[in-house]
Symmetry: C2
Subunit: 236 residues, 2 copies
């Protein structure tokens, strides 16, 4: 196994362990000496991997994705840049900033002439005409990532308000509105909530008892099934 492959493996092993892992354990798993492991960690850190080591504890990899060297065609890079520019114009500030950061990160590692091409990529995203929401969608995305329950107040199409506690698992971006998809504890069913009708967002920190992937899959099945209202009908 070449050194570069081993470095990717190391990232992968670190990701598997959520708790801190000792260097000795890692060295064993990879079949190298502890000294080499320290060198590998240093190399990865030098490449920007967010690995943190603390004496007495071990190593942790902060959540994130490591991409190996990758080749994209002109059209593929145009698609990524255009898509990121669209995201960068979303009203969700944190996500927009992340899109801008990702683009900057890509631009930073490119040679000058390619960076110019990227800057001058002539696919533009027009201004948006949005129903602005009062809540911070970043909180919703975090709850989805962590699979934790979320409380809020919902005002339905008729203007009636109600308090909800839900298990959020998806966020859909439409042309003008954003919609959270979740299991509603009150209704005991999947429900869709327009972000501009939500308020008083309160993350609970309580994990909900299902995997979001499973709920997403089940929810998609209900969309395809006939005789039952899908995303459009059962809002709130």
């Amino acid at each position: 196994m070449s050194r570069s492959e081993r470095l990717l493996d190391l990232i992968q092993i670190l990701r598997r362990h959520r708790q801190p892992v000792s260097g000795h354990t890692l060295a064993d798993e990879m079949g190298v000496s502890i000294r080499t492991l320290y060198r590998d960690i240093a190399t990865l850190q030098g490449q920007g991997a967010p690995i943190e080591g603390e004496a007495g504890l071990g190593y942790v990899l902060k959540p994130g994705f490591m991409l190996p060297p990758l080749m994209f065609s002109d059209e593929e890079i145009e698609a990524i840049v255009l898509g990121s520019r669209w995201v960068a114009k979303q009203p969700d500030k944190r996500l927009a900033a992340a899109a801008a950061d990702a683009l900057a990160k890509i631009a930073a590692v490119l040679p000058d002439d390619l960076r110019e091409d990227l800057d001058a990529t002539t696919l533009l995203v027009g201004p948006r005409s949005d129903h602005l929401e009062a809540i911070d969608l970043g909180v919703v995305r975090q709850a989805i990532r962590d699979e934790r329950k979320l409380g809020f107040v919902y005002r339905d199409a008729e203007g009636a308000a109600s308090e909800r506690l839900v298990w959020p698992f998806a966020l859909a971006f439409f042309d003008k509105v954003r919609v959270m998809v979740a299991w509603c504890e009150m209704r005991r069913d999947f429900r869709h909530f327009r972000a501009d009708r939500m308020s008083g967002l309160t993350p609970t920190g309580i994990r909900y008892p299902r995997r979001r992937q499973a709920m997403l899959k089940e929810w998609r099945a209900t969309l395809d099934a006939p005789g039952r209202n899908g995303a459009k009908g059962t809002s709130g």
Copy 2:
């Protein structure tokens, strides 16, 4: 200089030369022997770089972008995936396919658990309500990339049709319509053309005499300047 750095350099040098370059030249530029160069080329090809060598000619790198190892945060990868999903739903078929390819390419190099996360990334893009255009936007994007003149028939808001020959340099994606930005030879000015009002697209193969970056910059300046109509007003 480490070997991996040298490989990136090699890509960069290959990009600079548009014509085929002999291995001997490349080896000189990088300060290594011809034998090592052959090995480096083989390594890059093994990593997926589209380098082609032909006996009697030399090496050419097909256009594209090589990204070195890169680290993204959760939110950054979410932004890229969401953006690419949005692009993948655009009516521009080729661009949509490129977005899907880029996502697949990223997914292919990730370990299984990360790939699942990617598949299950719970940011969805809603269906689109578009004015569908009759033309192939891929032709427009190609003309922009190549900086070549483009001919077509334009039907303005009043329904009057006219033949145009323009220097296209940007393509803007609005919620419902796509707009090509170009210098119009007939009007001798920047003009904006809604894609759904264009027909009879004919790429000319003739290079226009300016850089698209320069035109983009100049056009943007006209948007900011007062007392002059910008993007919204001078359509067609």
